[in-house]
Amino acid sequence: MKKIFLFLAVLGVLGTGCEDELTIFPEDSLSVPTFYKTEVDFEQAVNGAYVPLRTIYNQSKAYLGEMHSDNTYYARNTAFGATEQQEDVADFAIPTDNGITTNNHVTNIYVDHYAIIARTNQILATIDDAEFDNAAKNNIKGQALFLRSFSYFDLVQFFGSVPMHLVPVLSREDAALPLSSPDDIYTQIIGDLETAISLLPPKSQQDPGRVTSGAARTLLGNIYIVREQWADAETQFQAVVDSNEYELMPNYEDAFSGNSDNKNNIESVFEVQYKEGPEGLNGSFLYNFLPRPMTADEVGAVTGTSNPQPLNGEGNNIPTPDIIAAYEDGDLREDASIQYVTASESFWRDGVYPIIKKYVEPHSLNGNHGMNFPVYRYSEVLLFLAEALEEQGKSGPALTHLNTVRIRAGLGDPVGDLGEAIFRERRVELAFENKRWLDLVRTGRAIDVITAYGNRIKANPNDYYYPEGAEPRGNAFTNISLTFGLPASESSLNPNF
């Protein structure tokens, strides 16, 4: 027996040395305690914070910002089902109950913006403790503050009150916050953007594609426009103009990025960056914006790829007759913004549909392209400035800025009320850039405009891409609301809503 105990005692001694054997960190990934130390770490972290924008702009933002308005609609394919998520958005029929909805696109926008917020919070919470070059640190902080403010601005415009996370979530208990009012959110992001403006370099000194002080001013100005703080808005936009960092491209169609060239050009204030290729950095929004079904050849005629694949399902973000009619005669932008393609197997008329031309650029891989998506262009800065001035009764300088934009479009002085003219100009200048719905909301026109639009569709569905005999669904245009419901999947996990 003694021997047994001796043996066990020896084993026990061996055993105590085992604690080290029981600590195994993953070899194939880094973990939080070892990361967020160096400049390279933070540079990677801020790069990662941009990433969700690619998803947001590839699909859902266009549906909520553009197709959820009178500018675009879907091209009904009666042979195809399971399309209600998009149709509900375009039809103002998102099932919403108690301010809660299950719509995918609404949910996507929400969670993707919060991904940006969580990533920027992680940077902002740890960067001050890291030791590296101050200029680089300021630049990264400025980008993080911009991105977080940008996300909250989208959220507050689309949803109204939302939870406001400003520090990283570390445990389950911190994950759900109560809703913050729009006023509180605006106060926060206005302050953050003022800081960001001071930290960020101007466009000429920033890596192309990253946000700049000019982008931060434009975002802040946009917030002031929405808040109707016209003088504050004027200050920001005037500063952008005075920075001499931006110009309009001579031709309107050159304002938009090519597949691999003409990116972040002189007119670009901020655009979502994509890259064609196998790295997974590509967009595919052009394909989302095509009617269906299309044969491989028909797709190839648009995309120029060598391996086009047929498209099935239902096409989205198809320009409406309304937006086509909104272009004045002689407006060069119409042909630069809209083209016509054939979907011979479609059941609608002869299958010749308008599509958004701004994003049609030849590329090589099917379903994989590198065009950037514009967020802010200098022409919008000018139109915002014109609007801010006009609202303060400074119609002379307002008209000057408006005409700068119109002249490039081959047009002369506007007719009628200047304020209305600026609003009309925004619609065509910024068509398909996800501005229309939020413009309708902030100017108080949304309910009237959309109600009338819905009535037009119901009266003439065939004009709005319904095949002969097909009708809008019974629930179309039954839920015209200024904000989207909050995602049901979040509501079930957050006791505050």
Binding site: G15, E21, L22, F25, P26, Q44, N47, G48, L170, E279
Partner: protein, 1028 residues
């Protein structure tokens, strides 16, 4: 019983004339009668052999024999299965009678328990052992297939017919929300890191299943799912034995059970009606359905074939002086019943035991195996599995061109409603390579030292090396996807996985008796470490299909290309004390302490104790007069076990550094925190109570085992969903509780003895579970088709309940509807919450539990008959009350006519006058209407999958007159999966259990989803067993 015996004796008389070998009369004739000591009746069929010769005979139906012997002093050996062998020296006698006693050694039979053995009679836990011999004739590749229906409390399902794959083993219904649920497999004392599907069943001596916590708790944090102990063949005492076993068979998919799909005429008729009902012109190709008479293209059937299976095993066991050896060499080859699928296994095992001295023993086991397996992406959801794709392809789409060549790609004009176009699935199945090659080497070495009597010290070193190479290549001429025109871009995936695990185990056991007090003590320390290196490359766009090399690809798919390392370590201390008094009051206590790298830094060690007690009542004096009762034992046990299948790095907050960005068309690396850390993360804890009864009657002619268990699994590893406003989707925590309970009955009877020996083994198990709690504030978890809800059984089918179709306008107006979508003839769903509107999801959800994937009970029955040289067995297994979700109906009952359809759609609603059978709704209205029936999962997808399967019938015959060449020779014929009795109509395999439902929603929460996978074949085989 006597009557039966008598009848059979009469029957025997005829056979005896046919098969008895009569010894040649040379010298003295010895005669006699062999009787049963039990009842004094004559025993027919007893072997009588002159010792040391091949001279022998068998007794006749009265137990009489006559044999000629040359040596008057020879010894006669009487042997008969189930009875103790007897040797009687002649000593010149001419009449020798023998009285045979039934073999009582079964009572002292030793069974394997964790880290040791115990006398079966004294086991206090719930343990069941199966001798490999009982499983020998089944012509299947995996041990677990052979165990189906044999074990009480163990549900074994064959979820797919892919050779060598798809066995699901659940002991006592154990489930985990997100941790694994497979039992722990221990081969010759080595807990291996994976499953046993690669193990050659012929290497196995016996299999022991440990079910209750008392028997499993010594395996600590890995024991909660139950433990399966496997002992491989050892050199037996006695002479050298060489045996050669082979079988060969053919496999085919029975017609019964294939999904009843429309043929070409029916499909064209459907399409014609579809357009007519819609009021649209009928496309030309559907105008005359009769033109397709006899021209059905059975895409699914075309993928199937009749194919061979063969198995060869050579076993040598020997025991020479101090060295005991067992060598098993095996080759198994199964061509699958789906074209271009095949499976080959080459295996070898060498087990050596050497007695260095009386006190020291050494052992070495090494078992390499190589497996090559190809299955051309047969299983999966629409667009990922070729069988599913083929099932729903239009039967008017031609497999062959008119000139007899294969079509390459089928796409009909859009006005025919053909929005899904297809490659030729035959070509796909033939050309797609989806091959794995496994090399597995399992080895042990040990030294055992017995310094004093009763004390044993044993140290062992075990290693497992496993390498898997996976190669996928889909050439430009084939695809498993849909809507992918041919030629397409060739795609390839290469994977390489290396696992290495080693275990050092140090055990001390000491047995000692003080008078009637018998003790056995075990102490041990073990250390195990595992490492997996995995790498994967995905590439596409090959210049030439003949060169599927990485350098031949134009494009490396970065998202699919990565490598990873997985490691864990486990340090354990274990101890057990077994005590009995007079061999009838039994008590065992054990404890294991596990430290694991998987557990959070604040929660690194766990203790797993158990206690059990038993009482052999039949050994008490007051039971002495109960002649009928040979064993009555009562058992009870309680213990704690764990499940450490929680992932290796789940406790850490990890950085994903492939969150890459692009600026101005330049790639830049990016990163983000991808998970939340939890330093308190631990194992899942299962506390189990078991009470059991072992009863044997009539000299063990009838033995009965009953167990009741109840167990509560707490601290479930669960990815608690957190709101995504946090930037995360979930937080891994130990949370919630599930309660399991059940009853198990096993009955073995020896119905007749003697020459006609008939035994029956039957078992039935009732397993139940209920979710007691989930995370705080969460009372349900949704899957795509499932719900797991507090107060209800786990993973129930969840969706809408249906109530026929809206028969007419009045019915529609007066019933709740889906706003804007319901029409006359469309599916009528039940308004569960009574708000007058049908809603899916959100606060007004009308979904409800619509079915249960778990059976009410499962059962098995095996009958074995030995009659002279014949042996015959029938194995049946069944499951009652379980349901399946027929997932493929979202394609095969898609009322838009996009796919081929199940036959039942013929009887859909067409008009008020022609309302059909109320099961399928109207086709009018397009996706807005039909989409509800198809996309809003409802109870039409759920079907009863109760079944009884005659799993195997084997008839064998042991040859006489072969003694010159063999010790024995036997031939047999066997049919596997003879017939399945079931009402299940969704597919050929009622055992299918979607480990994954095809929508990225896998695991235990989503069981019982039928995607129409690889069918399980019926196998006809013949075999031969030779002993030299």
């Amino acid at each position: 019983m006597t009557k039966i015996l008598f009848g059979l004796k009469t029957l025997y008389f005829g056979f005896a004339l046919l098969f008895t070998i009569h010894a040649q009369a040379q010298s003295t004739a010895v005669t006699g009668t062999v009787t049963s000591a039990d009842d004094g009746f004559g025993l027919p069929g007893v072997n009588v052999v002159v010792k040391g010769t091949t001279n022998g005979t068998v007794t006749d139906f009265d137990g009489k024999y006559s044999i000629n012997v040359q040596d008057a002093n020879a010894t006669l050996v009487f042997s008969y299965i189930g009875f103790t062998k007897q040797e009687i020296p002649l000593n010149g006698q001419r009449v020798v009678n023998a009285s045979m006693t039934e073999d009582a050694t079964a009572l002292d039979e030793v069974v394997l328990v964790g880290y040791g053995t115990q006398i079966k009679r004294q086991v206090t836990g719930s343990v069941q052992t199966i001798e490999a011999q009982e499983l020998a004739d089944l012509p299947v590749s995996q041990v677990t297939q052979k165990l189906q229906g044999k074990l009480a409390g163990v549900q074994i399902n064959q979820t797919t017919g892919k050779p060598g794959q798809g066995m699901s083993v659940r002991i006592r219904g154990q489930l985990s929300v997100s941790g694994g649920s497979d039992p722990l497999y221990v081969i010759d004392g080595f807990p291996i890191s994976g499953g046993i599907n690669t193990l050659n069943p012929d290497e196995i001596e016996d299999i022991t299943i440990l079910k209750d916590a008392a028997s499993t708790s010594l395996y600590g944090s890995r024991a909660a799912n139950g433990v399966v102990l496997i002992t491989t063949k050892k050199g037996t005492t006695g002479e050298t034995n060489v045996s050669f076993n082979t079988s060969t068979g053919i496999q085919q998919v029975p017609e019964r059970g294939r999904i009843d799909m429309m043929d070409a005429v029916e499909f064209a008729q459907f399409k014609k009606e579809y357009y007519e009902d819609q009021g649209d012109p009928v496309p030309e190709i559907f105008q005359d359905p009769s033109q397709y008479e006899g021209k059905t293209n059975d895409w699914y059937g075309a993928l199937l074939r009749t194919s061979p299976v063969q198995n060869y095993n050579l076993t040598i066991t020997s025991n020479k002086e101090k060295l005991r050896t067992a060598v098993v060499a095996g080759f198994f080859k199964q061509d699958g019943v789906v074209i271009n699928s095949d499976y080959e296994r080459y295996s070898l095992r060498v087990n050596l035991d050497y007695n260095v001295s009386d006190k020291v023993r050494l052992g070495f086991n090494v078992a390499p195996s190589y497996i090559k397996d190809n299955t051309p992406r047969s299983d999966g959801d629409r667009g990922t599995g070729i069988l599913f794709n083929a099932l729903h392809t239009w039967p008017i789409m031609p497999i062959y061109n008119e000139d007899g060549t294969r079509t390459t790609f089928n796409r009909f004009p859009a006005d025919t409603g053909n929005i899904f176009s297809y490659a030729n699935w035959l070509t796909s199945a033939e050309q797609i390579k989806n091959e794995t090659q496994d090399v597995n080497i399992l080895s042990n070495a040990f030294i055992e030292y017995e310094p004093i009597d009763g004390l044993t010290v044993k140290t062992s070193l075990n290693a497992e090396l496993y390498n898997r190479q996976y190669e996928f290549f889909s050439p430009s001429t084939a695809t498993y996807r849909i809507n992918r025109p041919i030629p397409t871009d060739a795609e390839a995936i290469w994977e390489d996985r290396k696992d290495f695990s080693y275990l050092n185990e140090n055990l001390v056991t000491y047995n000692k008796s003080f008078g009637e007090h018998n003790f056995s003590v075990l102490g041990g320390f073990t250390y195990q470490k595992f490492r997996r290196d995995f790498s994967r490359v995905a590439a596409d766009t090959f210049a030439d299909d003949r060169l599927p090399t990485i350098q031949g690809a134009a494009n490396i798919n970065r998202g699919g290309t990565y490598d990873s390392v997985q490691e864990w370590s486990l340090v354990s201390f274990l101890s057990r004390l077994t005590y009995n008094y007079k061999g009838k009051y039994l008590l065992t206590g054990s404890i294991r302490r596990d430290g694991s790298s998987r557990f959070g830094s604040e929660n690194r060690w766990g203790n797993f104790p158990s206690i059990s007690a038993g009482w052999i009542a039949s050994d008490e004096t007051f039971m002495e007069n109960q002649e009928a009762i040979s064993l009555l034992k009562l058992r009870a046990s309680y213990g704690v076990t764990g499940n450490n299948n929680i992932g290796n790095y789940t406790q850490y907050a990890l950085i994903n550094n492939t969150v890459n960005a692009v600026f101005d068309n330049e790639f830049v690396p990016g990163s983000a925190v991808s998970s939340l850390s939890n330093s308190n993360l631990g194992w899942e804890t299962t506390k189990q109570f078991d009470i059991g009864l072992d009863l044997s009657l009539f000299n063990d002619r009838v033995s009965f085992i009953y167990d009741y268990y109840t167990k509560n699994t707490t601290n479930l590893l669960y990815n608690v969903q957190v709101p995504r406003e946090s930037g995360f989707t979930n937080f891994s925590d130990n949370i919630g509780e599930i309660k399991f309970w059940g009853h198990e009955f096993a009955l073995n009877t020896v119905n007749t003895t003697g020459k006609f020996r008939w035994t029956t083994n039957a078992n039935i198990s009732f397993n139940r579970n209920e979710v007691v709690s989930l995370a705080e504030g969460i009372d349900r978890v949704y899957g795509t088709f499932h719900i797991t809800q507090v107060g209800k059984p786990f993973g129930q089918f969840y969706g809408h309940l249906s109530d026929g179709v809206y028969l007419n306008q009045q019915d529609l107006d007066s019933s709740p509807q889906v706003p804007g979508r319901s029409t006359v003839g469309s599916i009528k769903l039940v308004d569960v919450n009574g708000d007058g509107v049908i809603t899916r999801g959100g606060d007004e959800d009308d979904r409800a539990i619509m079915g249960n994937p778990f059976p009410d009970f499962t059962y098995g029955i095996t009958n074995t008959i030995k009659y002279g040289n014949f042996d015959f067995s029938v194995i049946g297994t069944g499951s009652q009350g379980n349901e399946l979700l027929i997932r493929h109906l979202y394609s095969t009952a898609n009322l838009d006519g996009v796919f081929n359809l199940v036959d039942g759609v013929k009887y859909r609603f067409r008009s008020e006058e022609n309302p059909g059978r109320g099961f399928y709704g109207t086709t009018v209205g397009g996706g807005n209407v039909t989409g509800i029936e198809r996309d809003w999962i409802n109870d039409r997808f759920v079907a009863d999958a109760s079944y009884f399967n005659i799993r195997n019938i084997t008839l064998g015959y042991t040859l006489d007159g072969v003694e010159k060449f063999f010790k024995s020779a036997r031939i047999y014929g066997s049919i596997q999966n003879v017939h399945i009795f079931t009402k299940y109509w969704g597919g050929p395999n009622p055992e299918v259990s979607g480990e994954s439902d095809g929508d990225g929603d896998g695991g235990n929460l989503s069981q019982g989803v039928d995607l129409s996978g690889y069918p399980v074949p019926r196998i006809f085989s013949i075999g031969l067993n030779l002993n030299f």
